[in-house]
Every structure is written in C-alpha cells, then in structure tokens.
C-alpha cells in the first residue's frame, strides 16, 4: 500500500528524511511518533503526493485518500456540511447523495444539528470532528492523520477513538496516525514507528 524506498527529503539545505525505507501493507493501522520538527508531516505529505522526494521512491496504492490535518483546515465560508461534502462533490457525486452521506457521518460523530453552522461558530473539538467527517466521507482506503486531536479534552478524544476504531475495522482502512502521545498510538495502532534524526527506529 505504502512503500518508501531509500527516500531522502531536503528543504534547501535542511535534510529532513535521510535514506528512509519502510512499508505499510493494506489494512494495517500504523502509528508514528517523534518529536516536533522531526519530519512526520513531511512523510505524510510525501504519501499524499503534494511533496516529491529529493531522492528515492515513494510508491502508493490508494484510490481514495482521507487526510486530517493538525489544524482543521475547514473552509470558513462554507457550512460544516458544505465542508464535509466538498470532497464528494469534487468526485462528481450528486449533491443529494453527498449531503445524505455527509449528514450520516456528522450524526455519527455527534454533530447532529450543526450541519448549517459555519466553522467559526463551532468549538475546536467540533471543527476537528467536521474535518474527520470530511476525510471519511469519501470512504478512504488510506487515511492519514497528522496529530489531529491535540488539545481536545480527553473524554471527547476517547469518544472519537471508539468510533474511529470501529469504522477502521469495518472498512479495512489503511491508517497512518501521527501523534506524540504514545498511549494514543498504542490504542489505535497495531504497530508504531518511531522517528528520530531523519531515521526510523
């Protein structure tokens, strides 16, 4: 599903990834830890194809990619539901079907009643759940999450994890989950990768 073959990534003079190789197979749920600034987001962006490696190869087999960013990255002038359905609309799904899927996901994440609310009027936790709904709307076969629930209250986090766990199991989604909280990683992931000084350990 994901294969990094001797990948090096440099930003100008700064070498962030140094000859990194690893692979993740279909249906695996993998956690990634590492200090901030070590290059975790860079790996996710390489997988998403918005960055190219300086050398080496990144091979990905995924037709639908879900991505939850560290910040929610919602479009402020679109309603919560409008944000959730946009990736579906971009894939040519008709508005009716897209909004039915979006509503179902929002209900499921406890966002019922906030479909027509603009992001600025939602709490941080709600915004992140909207972002998660957006990532799940396309039924991703690969889900990338970049420290998505930092700063949420533990109770809510626990809730989201419960829901997510079931969903991932049911859909056999391949997941790469980045967090620097180890207990979070072991909760969701069957395997964790630790990342340090441009190398995986």
């Amino acid at each position: 599903m994901i294969e990094f073959d001797r990948v090096t990534k440099k930003y100008k003079d700064l070498t962030v990834l140094d000859d990194v190789s690893f692979s993740i197979s279909r249906g695996e749920v993998v956690g990634m830890s590492g200090q901030s600034g070590v290059g975790k987001s860079t790996i996710l962006k390489l997988i998403a194809g918005i960055l190219q490696p300086s050398s080496g190869r990144v091979r990905i087999q995924a037709s639908r990619l879900g991505y939850v960013f560290q910040e929610s990255r919602l479009i402020s002038w679109k309603t919560a539901l409008g944000n959730v359905t946009l990736p579906l609309r971009a894939r040519g799904i008709c508005p009716y079907e897209a909004s039915a899927t979006g509503r179902r996901l929002m209900d499921w994440l406890g966002l019922h009643g906030f479909e027509d609310t603009f992001p600025a009027r939602l709490s941080g936790g709600m915004q992140q759940r909207v972002a998660l709904a957006r990532a799940l709307a396309i039924k991703p076969d690969l889900l990338l999450m970049d420290e998505p629930f930092n700063g949420l209250d533990p109770h809510l986090k626990d809730n989201i994890f419960n829901l997510l766990e079931k969903k991932i199991e049911k859909d056999l989604t391949t997941v790469l989950y980045v967090s620097h909280y180890l207990e979070e990683l072991s909760r969701l992931a069957s395997r964790t990768i630790h990342f340090k000084g441009g190398k995986l350990t």
Binding site: I50, F69, S76, W77, L86, A90
Partner: protein, 265 residues
C-alpha cells in the same frame, strides 16, 4: 430565557448605535445652521433653504428625467466598466507575476496622476459628453478594484490550497469555493470605495466639461450664484452614495460575510 436576554441586549445595542448616529447628524445640522447664521447667506445656505431648494430641484420637469438620469447612467457604466477591468486584470496579475510587474507602472501612473489632468486629457480626446465622463470614471476607478483583487488573490490561504490538492479539487471548485470568497472580502471594501468615488468623479468631470448631468446643473448654479441650489445638489450626491451604500452594498456585504463570527445578523 437566556436567548430572550440575548436578543434584548442586541436590540438595545442597536438602539444605542442608532442614537449615536442620530446625535451625529443633529450635531452636523446644528453646526451647519450656526455657520449659515454667522456667515452671510451668499456663502453658506441654511439647512432650511437647502431643503427647500432640494424639493424644488426634484420637482423641476427636466431634472429627474434628464440630468439626474444621465448622471446615474454615467455612474453606473463608469463604475461597472472600471470595476470589471480592474477585476479581470487583478485576477490575471494575481496568477502571473510577470504580468503584474508589467502592469505596475500603469497602476502607479493612474493612482498618482491628479484627476483633473485625466479629465483634461479625456476632454481633448473625446470632447464633452457621456463617453468622456464614463472613460474618466472607469480609468480612475479600475486601479482601486485592481489592487483589492490582487490583495485578495495573495491572501488565499496556502493551507486551504494544499487541502484542495490532497482532495483533488478541480480548478473550477478551487475557484468557486476557495479563490472567489478569499477575494470577496477585500473586493467588497474596494467596491464601496469605488461607488463613492464614482459619484465624485462623474460630478467633477461634469462640472468641468459637460452640458448635461448633475455636475452641469451644479456648475450653472455656481455661475448664477444660486447658493441653496448648490447645497441642494451636494445633498443629492451625498444621498446617492448613502442610498446605494445602505440599500445595495451593505446588504450584499452582510450576506457575503455571513460566515464571520462577529457579523451581527
């Protein structure tokens, strides 16, 4: 219960705002009255005379149907053409840096040259009449819209564009759902400025070189030393700006900016 309290507070806040504005207007009228009493009526028309003259002008047979109408048309076409040109050029300049650098001297000249010079040159080119007035207006206004469009284009959040790339949004979706609304905020204030300036520039060019329009009537009032008429026409042009702003631009802006937290709807 709580909601009720909130609403009551909102209403009292609004009432306070109205009261403040009303106080401002009364103060202005008071100072105006005071000034007209201390100076001779030949220099400053009193509010009363002005309002009377205002009524008289509006009921004059030829005024609304010809002069007023013609000025409004000139304002409309001048503002629309200028805004459209500024918008299209701004989008292109926002996309292409070489194009923007190429346009920069033109923008600079247009924004720096005194309006009177543009008016004089256009009178030489086009003579007196609507073409001249519309040309001047659009040429002087387009840089304002151009600049706010560029500002909007460069304020597009790169994180959103990254998100759009990951979710494979088409160019059309990116333009419709990301670019256009990023431009909308600076553009809305640009349009408000442009409408106000549009009225000013049209009247100015009519004063200097036209034989129809509000500016023309204004200039004949000056020649005849008809001070109340002069003031009444100033009042009229203020009203044009005020009314378009209040009934057209503000509601459009409110609708466009609904998503902002502090938009009080």
């Amino acid at each position: 219960m709580r909601e009720h309290g909130c609403r009551a507070m909102k209403i009292s806040e609004k009432l306070l705002a109205v009261l403040c504005s009303a106080t401002g207007i009364l103060l202005l009228l008071f100072l105006w009255q005071l000034a007209s009493e201390t100076m001779s009526g030949l220099v400053i028309a009193s509010p009363e005379d002005t309002f009377q003259a205002f009524g008289k002008i509006l009921t004059r047979t030829d005024f609304l149907s010809s002069h007023f109408c013609i000025s409004m048309q000139r304002i409309f076409f001048g503002v629309t053409l200028g805004a459209a040109a500024g918008f299209v050029l701004g989008i292109l300049a926002g996309v292409s840096r070489p194009f923007r650098l190429m346009l920069e001297p033109f923008r600079w000249v247009l924004m720096s040259v005194p309006a009177v010079i543009v008016i004089m040159v256009s009178m030489l080119w086009f003579g007196m009449g609507s073409i001249m007035v519309v040309f001047i207006t659009s040429v002087l206004l387009s840089p304002i819209i151009y600049v706010s469009t560029i500002e909007g284009m460069s304020s597009v959040d790169p994180d959103l564009l990254e998100m759009a790339a990951i979710y494979r949004f088409s160019l059309w979706i990116k333009i419709r759902d990301i670019y256009l609304m990023s431009i909308a905020a600076p553009l809305a204030s640009g349009v408000a400025i442009v409408v106000g300036n549009g009225v000013r520039v049209v009247i100015l060019s009519e004063v200097l070189g036209a034989n129809e329009g509000i500016g023309y009537v204004l200039s004949s009032a000056r020649t005849n030393l008809d001070i109340p008429d002069l003031y009444a026409l100033v009042l009229l042009s203020l009203l044009i700006v005020g009314i378009t702003d209040f009934f057209l631009l503000k509601p459009a802006q409110r609708r466009l900016m609904r998503w902002r937290v502090r938009s009080d709807d």
